[in-house]
């Protein structure tokens, strides 16, 4: 791969913030403040302000945009580390420049997923203590306890992976990094010895192996869908197809997320040489492939539910078939899929911006789909207890503000972290230098 960048290029984002940086930071801060006010209002007045608390009395649902966003954020968190782990395990050098951005997206998105759970709690102040206290018993029987366990494990393994790969880069770029952050770099380099690099590299390889099994098969294709698919009284949730559906949605939206963040850095720091077109071409292709799988699973669900459904399943699928919002979600995945396929087969010219916009479409489509999935599961429950109070669900401004808040926090996270550490691995540039010296491509 031809990467025409120098190590100095990697520290460009760490220099004095420019005008664009300040504008984006100000907008994200406003988004965060809107969330803070809305969440404060919710804490002051209870979850009733979201209409999410009264299933069975006032109708509607108890889970909505908060849980839909939780699943969505976990999905985006997925791809990040998978891109990085796959690049390391399968020696896909092409994706190395985007690996650390992807890892950081995982850490940030996973934190936002956790925050959506905290925001959804009526008494968040009791969360940690009650979880820890009951864990020795709940872990044996509760999918919610499994969920907390696996998300913790995923977060911790990703963070360790990032830390191990960061040490060598910080050491080598130390004289180019801002002095004001010396204490942070000293902590990162705790007991660092350049001789540890081959061992640390191998440890990162082992972590990649662990993560590439854990994340798709046991987290987003495991514990997260099990939260839903093990509930027989919710026909929209119940069944083995839920896990592959979740996984395909996670992977396709995650590719969109990585492309979007990488594109912003490429635009702001003129990183066409650091993050070249072929990375976006490759990620767009994977996004299309996973999107195709997602559409195929939708087809399975619709055909099963429309042909000769059971009494429980019929209203769910009937609603999906007649819901404009559902078809909007399908369209937001299908059109980008067609677009990247046309590009790949040469019918349309390749465009980085077009591919990234397609990725944003997929991200929005998956968010809508996940929220619908959660809501329809509860509205069309098998139990007839609440049949006379079916109700409806529309996300309230309070919930929307929380979603805006998490997006704003991710932006602030990237603005902050890009000033702190190099967000592209030095290895990606050094490999190019070696290739150039040996006359390689």
């Amino acid at each position: 791969m031809s990467l025409d960048a120098e190590p100095e290029d990697l520290v460009r984002p760490m220099r004095k913030p420019g005008k664009k940086y300040m504008i984006v930071g100000a907008l994200a801060t406003v988004g965060f403040l809107i969330f803070a006010v809305a969440y404060g209002f919710q804490l002051e007045n209870g979850l009733a302000v979201t209409n999410l608390s009264d299933w069975g009395s006032g109708g509607g649902v108890t889970w909505g945009l908060y849980i839909g966003s939780f699943v969505w954020w976990v999905g985006i968190a997925h791809g990040g580390i998978l891109v990085s782990a796959a690049a390391r395990l399968f020696e896909l050098e092409k994706y190395e420049p985007v690996a650390r951005i992807a890892e950081l997206l995982t850490i940030g998105a996973l934190s936002m997923a956790g925050l959506m759970i905290v925001v959804h709690l009526g008494r968040p102040d009791r969360m940690v203590w009650s979880t820890v206290q009951s864990y020795p018993t709940t872990v044996h029987t509760s999918p919610l306890a499994w969920d907390l366990t696996v998300i913790t494990l995923y977060f911790v393994m990703t963070g360790t992976y990032l830390s191990l790969t960061l040490r060598s880069d910080v050491y080598q770029l130390r004289d180019k990094l801002p002095n004001i952050l010396s204490p942070v770099y000293s902590a990162v380099l705790f007991r660092y010895d350049p001789d540890e690099d081959p061992v640390a590299e191998r440890m990162a390889w082992w972590l990649s192996l662990g993560i590439i099994v854990l994340a798709p098969l046991l987290l987003h294709g495991g514990v997260i869908p099990w939260l839903f698919q093990l509930t027989p009284s919710m026909p929209n949730w119940y069944g083995g197809l839920t896990a592959p559906q979740f996984l395909s949605a996670a992977l396709t939206s995650a590719m969109g997320g990585v492309m979007f963040v990488a594109y912003i850095f490429r635009r702001v720091y003129d990183w066409e040489d650091v993050l070249p077109d072929e990375i976006f071409h490759g990620l767009g292709w994977w996004m299309g492939l996973f999107g195709l799988l997602w559409l195929w699973f939708q087809l399975q669900k619709l055909i099963t539910g429309a042909y000769a459904p059971t009494r429980d399943v019929e209203p769910v699928v009937n609603t999906m078939l007649h819901s404009n919002v559902y078809w909007l979600a399908v369209g937001l995945v299908a059109v980008p899929l067609a677009y990247v396929a046309f590009q790949h087969f040469g019918i349309l010219d390749f465009s980085v911006r077009g591919t990234v916009i397609a990725g944003v479409g997929v991200i929005l489509g998956v968010l809508i789909d996940k929220t619908l999935f959660v809501v329809e599961g509860l509205i069309y429950a098998s139990t007839r207890l609440y049949e006379n109070v079916p109700g409806a669900y529309v996300p309230t401004p309070i919930e929307m503000a929380s979603l805006l808040g998490t997006v704003s926090m991710i932006v602030l996270f990237f603005l902050g972290i890009s000033k702190l550490v190099p967000i592209v691995e030095l290895k990606a540039v050094k490999e190019h230098e070696t290739e150039t010296e040996t006359g390689g491509d």
Binding site: T138, V150, W206
Partner: protein, 81 residues
């Protein structure tokens, strides 16, 4: 054995029995973590000091994640209840 374990796990009151989560979490989900730890200390190349540093980083992330959540939620408790 698996059938027996899953069968006795059907009652949430039988805390001493092997229940589904015991197998799912400690027998399946943790396998990647077990592999990583074995790889760190028994794989090639390996170094015990760097291996323990890795374990320390793992532990610090657990502590910072749950410690941070604890502080945040307690702060919310002070402010709103």
């Amino acid at each position: 054995m698996l059938d027996l374990a899953l069968a006795v796990g059907s009652s949430a009151t039988e805390y001493n029995a092997i229940q589904p989560g015991t197998i799912v979490i400690f027998g399946i989900v943790f396998v990647p973590l077990y592999s990583v730890l074995i790889g760190w200390f028994a794989g090639e190349p390996s170094d015990a000091e760097v291996g323990f540093l890795g374990v320390g980083i793992l532990a610090s992330f657990i502590a910072s994640l749950w410690g941070g959540l604890f502080v945040l939620t307690i702060l919310l408790g002070f402010l709103f209840w």
